[in-house]
Symmetry: C2
Subunit: 471 residues, 2 copies
C-alpha cells in the first residue's frame, strides 16, 4: 500500500514521462543517424570484431567509474609539474605561438607579466614567441580556457587512490577579465598575485586541516543540485565552501585575509570547476594506455585545434580545426567576437559530466542558451556513444540514472553523434576576456582519424607482448 493509492495519475504520468524520454532517446538515434564517413567502414569492422577492444574498453570504463580522486593540497606548478622560467603549460593539443589564437596569446602575455619576466604588455609580446609551450595534458594537468600555467602559480593536487593517478589544476580566478580568457590587464595580474600570496596559503592550510577532500562525492551532490560540473558549478562551489569554512576560520590570520578568501570563494560560482577538472583528469588518466581500447581519454582545445586521445593509441593527438561555440554573449559582445573553442575543460565531458550530463542542469540553458528539453536531449544522445553509466554520479531527472561514461570513438563514428559539450566563450582579441557561454560540437574528423589509427594498430598489438589491461 502506498499513500498514493487512489491517485492513478501518478503511474499514468510516470509512464507517459518515461515513454516520452525513451521515445526521445530512440528518435535521437534513428533521426540522427548518418552513415559512417567514407573509408571508416573497414576500420569500424576491425574494431568491432576484435575481442581485445571490448575487453580493454571494459577495463577502461571500470577504472573511470571506480576513480575517486581526493584533493591532497595546494602546491606550485614549478614543484609539481617541473616547469621553470619561460616554460608555460597550455590547454589543448600542442601548439606554437604562431598558430595561437587571441585568448591564448593574451594569457601567455599575462603569464610573462605575472612571472615578472616582462614589465609591460609590449615587452611581454616581444618575448612571447620564445616561451616554451607544452600541453597541460602532457604533465598530468588540465587548465580551463587558455589553460596557461606558469611556474609560480599555485595548483591543486588531486590523487586517486583506487587507480594511483594524480592530477593538477590551477585555482579558478572567477569570470570576466581573467587570464584564462586571455585578459592581462593590471587587475588580472594583481588578482593572480593575491591568489598566489594569500588565497593559496590560507586555503592550502585549511585543506590540510580537513584532510583529503572527496571531489567525486562533491560532484555527485552537485549533480543533484542543478550543476553539470562544467559551466554550472554553483552548487559544488557552495558545498565546497560549507566543507572548508570552519577550517578556514581555524587557520586564517589575519582576519582580513580570512574575509577576503571567504568572499573570493563565495563570490565565484565556478570556483570548484578547477577541482572538477583534475578529478575528471585523474579518472580519465586511469583509463589510459590500454592496448586496443577505443575509449576517449582526452578531449581538449587550444583555441585553434580540437584534439582527442584514445586509450589504445597512447599519447597521439587526433586534431581538427576547433569550431566556434554558439550561445549567449554578454552585453556589448556579439557572435563575431567569439574565439574558436578553447580549453581543457572538455575533460569534464570526457568523464561523462558537463555537456554529457546537461539533464542535471536545466537552469544552465539560461547561461549557455537552448531549452530544457534540449539539455535533456544532449544527455540522451550521450548514452548512445558511451559504454557504461557511472553509478556514483546520478541524474535525478532521469530517475537517478548514472552519467553516460566512457566515450567510445568507434560509436561516435558509427552513429555520427559527437559528444555534447558546453563551454565558456573567450573573446577573439587578446586581452578581451570572457564574452559569453554556449554549446559547441567537437569535430567528427578527430574521431574518424582516431578510429582509423586504432584499426591500423590492431594487428601490431597482436604480436605485442602486452595484453589488454596487462600493463
Amino acid at each position: 500500500m502506498s499513500i498514493l493509492d487512489g491517485h492513478p495519475v501518478i503511474t499514468v504520468g510516470a509512464r507517459l514521462f518515461d515513454e516520452a524520454l525513451a521515445a526521445q532517446g530512440v528518435e535521437t538515434t534513428a533521426v540522427d543517424w548518418r552513415p559512417p564517413p567514407a573509408g571508416t567502414g573497414q576500420a569500424l569492422g576491425a574494431i568491432a570484431g576484435d575481442r581485445r577492444t571490448a575487453e580493454a574498453n571494459g577495463l577502461a570504463v571500470e577504472r573511470m567509474v571506480t576513480a575517486r580522486p581526493e584533493v591532497m593540497g595546494i602546491t606550485t606548478a614549478a614543484a609539481a609539474l617541473g616547469i621553470d622560467g619561460p616554460q608555460f603549460l597550455h590547454a589543448g593539443p600542442p601548439i606554437t605561438w604562431e598558430r595561437a589564437s587571441g585568448p591564448l596569446r593574451g594569457a601567455i602575455i599575462g603569464g610573462l607579466l605575472f612571472e615578472g619576466l616582462a614589465d609591460t604588455p609590449a615587452a611581454a609580446e616581444s618575448l612571447a614567441p620564445t616561451v616554451e609551450l607544452q600541453p597541460c595534458h602532457h604533465h598530468r594537468a588540465v587548465g580551463p580556457m587558455a589553460g596557461i600555467m606558469t611556474p609560480s602559480m599555485p595548483v591543486f593536487e588531486l590523487h586517486d587512490a583506487a587507480n594511483g593517478t594524480t592530477a593538477y589544476s590551477t585555482l579558478n580566478e572567477g569570470l570576466g577579465k581573467v587570464l584564462r580568457y586571455g585578459a592581462y590587464g593590471p587587475e588580472v595580474i594583481e588578482r593572480l598575485v593575491w591568489m598566489r600570496d594569500v588565497l593559496a596559503p590560507v586555503l592550502g592550510a585549511a585543506l590540510a586541516r580537513i584532510g583529503p577532500y572527496d571531489v567525486r562525492a562533491m560532484i555527485a551532490q552537485s549533480l543533484q543540485m542543478g550543476d553539470e560540473g562544467h559551466n554550472r558549478n554553483r552548487a559544488g562551489t557552495s558545498l565546497f565552501l560549507r566543507e572548508v569554512v570552519g577550517a578556514l576560520v581555524d587557520v586564517a590570520s589575519p582576519a582580513s585575509d580570512l574575509g577576503a578568501v571567504a568572499r573570493f570563494i563565495a563570490g565565484n560560482d565556478h570556483f570548484v570547476l578547477n577541482l572538477v577538472m583534475p578529478c575528471a583528469k585523474a579518472a580519465a588518466d586511469a583509463a589510459r594506455d590500454l592496448p586496443c581500447s577505443s575509449v576517449v581519454v582526452a578531449m581538449a582545445r587550444n583555441g585553434t585545434d580540437f584534439g582527442i586521445q584514445l586509450s589504445g593509441t597512447g599519447d597521439r593527438w587526433f586534431t581538427a580545426p576547433a569550431q566556434t561555440p554558439k550561445g549567449l554573449t554578454f552585453p556589448g559582445f556579439g557572435d563575431d567576437d567569439v574565439n574558436p573553442d578553447i580549453g581543457d575543460s572538455t575533460i569534464t565531458e570526457t568523464y561523462g559530466i558537463g555537456g554529457m550530463a546537461m539533464a542535471c542542469a536545466p537552469a544552465i540553458v539560461r547561461f549557455v542558451g537552448g531549452s530544457v528539453a534540449e539539455a535533456t536531449a544532449k544527455t540522451m544522445s550521450a548514452y548512445e556513444i558511451t559504454l557504461t553509466e557511472n553509478p556514483h554520479l546520478q541524474i535525478p531527472t532521469l530517475d537517478f540514472r548514472g552519467t553516460p561514461t566512457g566515450i567510445d570513438a568507434a560509436r561516435v563514428v558509427r552513429t555520427g553523434i559527437v559528444p555534447p559539450v558546453n563551454t565558456g566563450m573567450a573573446g577573439r582579441v587578446a586581452g578581451t576576456g570572457q564574452v559569453g557561454a554556449g554549446l559547441v560540437e567537437p569535430p567528427m574528423g578527430c574521431f574518424v582519424q582516431a578510429v582509423l589509427a586504432l584499426a591500423e594498430e590492431l594487428p601490431a598489438f597482436a604480436s605485442s607482448p602486452s595484453s589488454p589491461g596487462g600493463q
Copy 2:
C-alpha cells in the same frame, strides 16, 4: 539557424516531453476527480457565482506573488511577539496541554527548562499544564514542528515592503534530537542556550552588516538547485552561508565563536527553513482578510489537529484530525513511532513551494520516499487547485513554469485534490526527536468546513460596508 540544426530529435523530444506533461496534468484532473462531498454543491455554486470572490481571490494571489520579504535582523520572541514568563507559542491551530501530542509536550517541557522556569524534566512536566499556549500564527509567527517559541528565544524578523507585512520565526536547531521534534535532553537545552548567547548575536550583527536579505531571491535560486523549500533546503542554506560568510568574518570575535557559528550553519542543511517559513508567512498574511476570498492563507498542524484559514473568513480555524505522515523512518524507528502531522511548516505549501513544488526537487524522494515521477505529479496536481503561478519562483524541469500559488479551497473541494505536503516526522513519545520524513495529506474535512462557512457568510458580506480589497 540554431547550432542544433540537423538534430530533429530536439524539437521532437521537446514536443513529446511537453505533451507528456500536459497529458499528465489533464489525466490528473480526469482520473482523480471525485464528486464534491455531500452538502457542498450549493456552497460551491454560491462561491462560484459570486463575482466578489473572483475579485478578492485575484487580489489575494497578486499580493502573495508581489511579496518580497527581507530579513531585517534578529530580535527576541519577548520583544517582537509580546510574550513573557510561561507564555509559549506553538505550531498549528489552538490546543491545550490535555490534547497535546508527545512531541508538543516534550517541546513545552524543554521550553520550561530552557527558560529556567523548571530545573528538571519532572518539575517541568508538573508545571507544563499551567503554561499559557497560543498559536504562533496569532502572533505573525511560524514555528516548524512543535513550533514552541519561548520569550528569550532569538527570532528572525522579516518584512515585506510590498505589502507591509512582518513575520517571525525562531532559528533552526538542526536535525535529530532537537526541541522542535519534542526532545528536551541536556544537549538540546545547551544548544538552545548557545544559539541564544552566541549564534544570534554573531549572525544578527552579520545580517545588520549586509543589510536586508532578500529571502524570495534566495528561494528562487534554490528552486533551480534541487530544493523545494520545505524538506530540502540544502541549496538555500549553502547560498545563505555564501552571502553572509564575509560579514560573519567581519563581525565575529573571538575567532572561536566565528568558527562555531560558521560550522553550525554549514552543518545544517535545514538552516534556512526558518527563513523560508516566515517569508511564506509574510506573503500569505498579505493575502489575509479579503472579504469573500476562498484563498487559503494558513495551513498548520499542532500534532493533534490540522487547521486551515481562508482569507475571507478572518481568524477562524477549520480543523480536522491530523493524519500521520508516511515515508522513510531513520534506523531504529518504524511507522508506529511516527506522531500525527505537526508544525507550521505547511506555510511553505500555502505559499506554493514545499510539496507543491516537489518537481523542483527530484532528490527529495530519497528523504521523504516516493519516486521522481510522483514528485512531478504532486506539482502537476497542485496546479489544479491554485489560482496563479508565481513568476518569481520557477520550476526548471517544467520549463521554468511558475510555482502553483494561491490554493483555492473551493477548487480543493470541487476536485477532491488536497494540497500535496511533505514533512519531517516526529516521534510520538515526548523526548524522542525526529524519526524520519515523509508525505502527508491534509484532511479534506478542513476544506469542506471552510467552504461551507465562506458560503454562509457571503450574504452578510453583501450588506457589509467593506468591499474586496477595500481594507
